[in-house]
């Protein structure tokens, strides 16, 4: 518990430093000015989303290969945290687009594939709620998560493959791309801060899923004992009836 408080305090300090750097240290962008500062947390939330969904993909494959419940727990944790990061990106994006593009949203390849990704993983979470049998739930979820993950490369590559309203990548985006050195450092700090927040959320969600599994096992044990008891009662009733 003490270690957890220390880690949370360190992450909070990191977030404070990243926030300060994004708002006050990073230089103003030449055309967009202050509104461009959304970039530091918008990009960082997408980065965290890709990491969380990769964890979900890896865990789903591992579950199908090994059949161990811990992988299913990690899979659902990755999806839920990924959906949270995706939600942040989908809200901060339009808030940045409105003053810069003059519109909140456009159905270009980048934005549409991202919205589909969000819907797919929301569907994954709904699907888990509909299936009661734990084995069936875990297998179906793993297959669905792998299917939904097929959209991830499309989201990443959309503005590299097609002409989109969404700008071309500023990092590793080919000729003419690149960032001011101070902007790069601030971005790295923000990427690391949001990544740490994502890891904390993932750890908490994983702990919750393990606790839920423990509760399910206890419930199953109680039910089976209850059935044993009722079986005994039924047998005694049948014996009495026969007499």
């Amino acid at each position: 518990m003490k270690a957890r408080i220390t880690i949370t305090a360190l992450v909070a300090l990191l977030i404070f430093c990243a926030g300060y750097a994004a708002l006050f240290i990073a230089p103003d962008e030449a055309t967009m000015h202050a509104i461009q500062r959304i970039f530091y947390f918008h990009v960082a939330s997408w980065n965290a989303m890709f990491c969380a969904f990769f964890v979900a993909f890896y865990a789903s494959v591992a579950y199908l290969v090994t059949g161990k419940r811990k992988w299913d727990a990690l899979g659902v944790s990755g999806v839920e945290v990924g959906v949270m990061c995706c939600t942040i990106g989908l809200i901060t994006g339009p808030l940045w687009a409105r003053p810069v593009w003059g519109i909140w949203w456009t159905w270009d390849a980048k934005l549409t594939s991202t919205f589909i990704l969000w819907l797919l993983f929301i569907a994954y979470l709904l699907l888990r709620g509909l299936v009661e049998d734990p084995e069936k739930k875990a297998s179906l979820s793993a297959v669905f998560a792998i299917f939904a993950s097929l959209d991830i490369p499309l989201v990443y590559l959309a503005n590299r493959l097609w002409r989109t309203q969404h700008p071309q990548p500023v990092i590793a985006g080919g000729q003419g791309s690149g960032l001011d050195p101070t902007m790069s450092k601030v971005l790295l700090l923000c990427l690391f801060a949001i990544f740490c927040v994502m890891i904390l959320a993932l750890m908490d969600r994983y702990r919750l899923e393990l606790l839920r599994n423990e509760a399910a096992e206890l419930r199953y044990e109680i039910e089976s004992r209850g059935l044993d008891a009722s079986d005994g009662q039924e047998t005694r009733a049948l014996q009495k009836g026969a007499q």
Partner: protein, 46 residues
């Protein structure tokens, strides 16, 4: 500062979503722990 309201809203959204999510997970953990305790007691009584 031009467009400050958009920057402020985006900033608030980032931390509000993280905060609400963490609160929701913490609440669900507490509820599940309570349920486990209750189930363990129930199991001991049988």
């Amino acid at each position: 500062m031009k467009n400050f309201e958009f920057l402020f809203s985006a900033w608030m959204v980032v931390w509000a979503v993280f905060f609400v999510y963490e609160i929701s997970v913490a609440r669900r953990i507490a509820q599940t722990r309570e349920e486990i305790e209750r189930l363990k007691q129930q199991l001991q009584q049988r």
